[in-house]
Structure formats: structure tokens, C-alpha cells
Symmetry: C2
Subunit: 215 residues, 2 copies
DNA sequence: ACGAAACTTTGCACAGCCTGCAAGATCGCC
DNA sequence: GGCGATCTTGCAGGCTGTGCAAAGTTTCGT
């Protein structure tokens, strides 16, 4: 048994795989953006990427997965970042901080993610997939939060916090796409988390104790 | 043209339909609870309900829909309740109040919904479906909230509030099922909304201004 | 009670998604 | 060049979901 570790990046084989994967993903996004989710078959996507439809399923377990992207990897990195935030930081702020780094990654592939969010928005059947992709990672995240705040397992806070912040983040991302990236994703996420931290007050009702003028 | 309005409830035909629908739904839940989502086919569910598999699709557009129930109807009633809450009530409290009435409905079919939530929890692929079922109603809800708080369409608050409260409610419902209904759903929802209104502080950190000794 | 009209169930054909499996092509390394 | 590992592809097949038309059932008027 040779047990050679194949070069993870430099090899020709690896480059080909990477190219095929992005070709499939971008072809899927482009076609679905133009014709709609139901009007595009896996066969058409595969043809656009010059591979067989069987190969498509070697790269993505389902048609939807090619569209929503590798959420699992994003989530894993997010959880890793979250674990690095000092434990004194309250959980909500910690999540916000860890999310900031994820946001930067999305900004790097700005066009891709804008298109992706646009496609998700126009094909609501995909929105659930965004949740599903994060479902497993959400459990991991719940564990991290539970350990951080030190509550018993039957306490609902960790699960509530993770699912609510996840929803807030998705809302910000969709809004980002809705405005075609006019405002930065970081801004929108910040604003959403500010609202969350303030207890979701009606806008225009800044303070429950209006003794000071809001900033 | 006859234009007769068929009796919406009393007729034999209607009773049969109702029976078939619940037979399919309960058979689906029972079988999936026992064997898992992927191990149960539509044909098996239909056989258990003594109809053809083609008839199954006359009642439910997909296998999943038979399991998650008629979320759309629930949501519609919720939106109607929401519209009845006086406009002075802040949006978060208004949602909470409207949700209270929905919770009562779920309590009436307690066993059914506990089983349903249990199945969803054990088959995470269904969790997204809960969101999807509410997706359209969530837009309607967003509109109601926007009108209530009177913000421009490009403001993110209504969408944020609806998706976040939806997530909080689902979290409470799942927790309800996780504890087999030991605590009432109304209690769990109340607690989740209290936490939301408080800005999701860490438990054990009751006050943001620790000038007093924490309990 | 009879029959027409409306509705429901069912079988059939079919498209699309997705999964094993095995054969063939390609790449990495000696 | 040649061997082993990996990737691609075709094929067979099961399951989901839809359209269509035939057959069965309920409703309603006469």
C-alpha cells in the first residue's frame, strides 16, 4: 500500500476537478437564472459543462446542491471561527464576530454569491435548501453555544440563538441580493444584528426609556 | 348553468374525502416514524390507506407535504389573527399574540402535532419543508408587518421580524416535541419570545448594566 | 326511481431525479 | 513504458410526480 497523498492543489487532475465543479455550478446558476428551476434538467446542465449527467451526480448529490453551493464548508469555517472568540464575549456578539469573517469570504466571490442569492430568491423551493445545508452545522453550532454559555442540555437558549441568528443572516443576504449589492453585506448583517440585540423594537420607536436621545 | 354550491361539510362525498386525507396523513406519519423517511414509499403509504398511489398525489403534491400537514392553512389563519391585533401594539408583541391563538389550535390536536414534530426532528430533510410551507405566507406576513409599522418597502425590518419569529416558533415547537410535551407549547413559545424581546442575552446575565448584584 | 351532471378514483404512460455497478479512460508516479 | 489510483461514462433500475382518459361514485333534478 503506497498511501501517497495526492497534491491537493497543484496536480493536473485536481485542477480538472476544480474546473469541472465550478463549470457545473456556474452553468447551473446561469441556466436556472434564465429559465427557472423546473425548466432546467440535470442533463442540460451537464451538457453545458461538457460532462455526462452521471458525472454531475459525482460532484453534487442533487440538482439543488449545485445551486446553493458548499454551505457545509462555509458553516464549518464559521464554527471554527466561533470557537476562537474569547468566552467572555456574550454569545450573540460572538456569533456576530464570527459571522463577520464569513461575510468577508462572500464578498470575495461577490458576483457569484449575488447571482446565487438572486436565483434562490426567484426560486423559493431552494430557500429551504439553504436551511437544510446548514442544519447539520447548526447542531454543531448549538453545541458550541451551549458550552460557551454553560447551560444544561434541556435549555432552549442555544438552539434558539443559532436558528434565530441563522434566519437573520439569511434575511440580510437575501436583502443584499434584492438590492443587487448596493449596500455592503457587512452593513446589512450589522444592522440586522443591531435590531436583534435591541429586542426587535418597531423602527421609529428607538427607546423603551426615552430619557436620552438616540445616537 | 346549475352553479350549485356543494355542501362543504355535511355531504357524504366530503366526509369520504376528509377521511381519506387524514388516513393518508396519519399512515404516512406512522410509517415514517417507524421506518424513516427514505424507507417508506408513496406506494406503501397509499396501500396503508387503501387507495392507489395515484390518489395519494391527488391529495398531496409530494410525499413530504403529507407529513408536514397543511401549514398554509395555519399560516393563513395566523395572518388573519395578526391583522386583528390593534395597530398600537408593537409588531413583535402583535405576532406573539396572534401566535398564541395558533398555539391553542395545535394543542387541540396535541398528539398529532407531537408525532409530526417528532418525525420532522428525526428526518431533518423535512425541516426545510416547514419553512417552505410558510414561505408564501411569510411574504403575506411581511406585508402586514410593513403596513403596521409603516416603513418603506426597502426597509429590512418586516422581513427580518417575520423570519426571526418564524424561526423562534419552530425552535419552540421542536423543543416541545423533544420533551414529549412535558411543558406546554404556550410556555415554550412565551419563553422564546421573552428571550427575543430581551435581545437574546446570555442566560445567567440578566442585566446589561451590572450595577446590581446578579441573582 | 331514473338519468344526467359533477366529481373522484384508478391505471397507464412518461419525464425527471438519483443510485449502484462495471467497463473504459485518464492521471500520477516509478 | 507501465502499474495503480482515480475519474468518467453508460446502463439498468427504483422512486417521485404529472397528464390523460376510462371507470366508478355521489349529487341533484325530474
Amino acid at each position: 500500500m503506497t498511501l501517497d497523498r495526492p497534491p491537493a492543489d497543484g496536480g493536473l487532475r485536481d485542477r480538472k476537478k476544480r474546473r469541472t465543479r465550478t463549470a457545473l455550478a456556474t452553468a447551473a446558476l446561469r441556466l436556472v437564472a434564465e429559465h427557472g428551476l423546473d425548466q432546467v434538467t440535470v442533463e442540460e446542465i451537464s451538457a453545458a459543462a461538457d460532462v455526462s449527467s452521471r458525472t454531475f451526480f459525482n460532484y453534487f448529490p442533487s440538482k439543488d446542491d449545485a445551486l446553493v453551493g458548499d454551505q457545509a464548508a462555509l458553516n464549518a469555517r464559521f464554527v471554527a471561527r466561533l470557537a476562537e472568540v474569547p468566552p467572555e464575549v456574550p454569545a450573540l456578539a460572538a456569533i456576530r464576530a464570527a459571522l463577520g469573517e464569513v461575510v468577508e469570504e462572500l464578498q470575495e466571490d461577490r458576483e457569484l454569491w449575488l447571482l446565487r442569492m438572486d436565483v434562490v430568491m426567484r426560486n423559493p423551493a431552494l430557500l429551504p435548501r439553504l436551511v437544510a445545508a446548514g442544519a447539520e452545522a447548526e447542531r454543531a453550532m448549538t453545541d458550541v453555544v451551549a458550552a460557551r454559555v454553560g447551560v444544561p442540555a434541556d435549555h432552549g437558549f442555544p438552539a434558539l440563538l443559532t436558528t434565530v441568528t441563522g434566519a437573520a443572516f439569511r434575511a440580510a443576504a437575501l436583502r443584499w441580493a434584492a438590492t443587487a449589492g448596493a449596500r455592503s453585506l457587512a452593513d446589512l448583517v450589522d444592522q440586522a444584528f443591531d435590531t436583534l440585540a435591541a429586542g426587535l423594537p418597531d423602527p421609529g420607536t428607538p427607546e423603551p426609556h426615552p430619557s436620552r436621545t438616540p445616537s
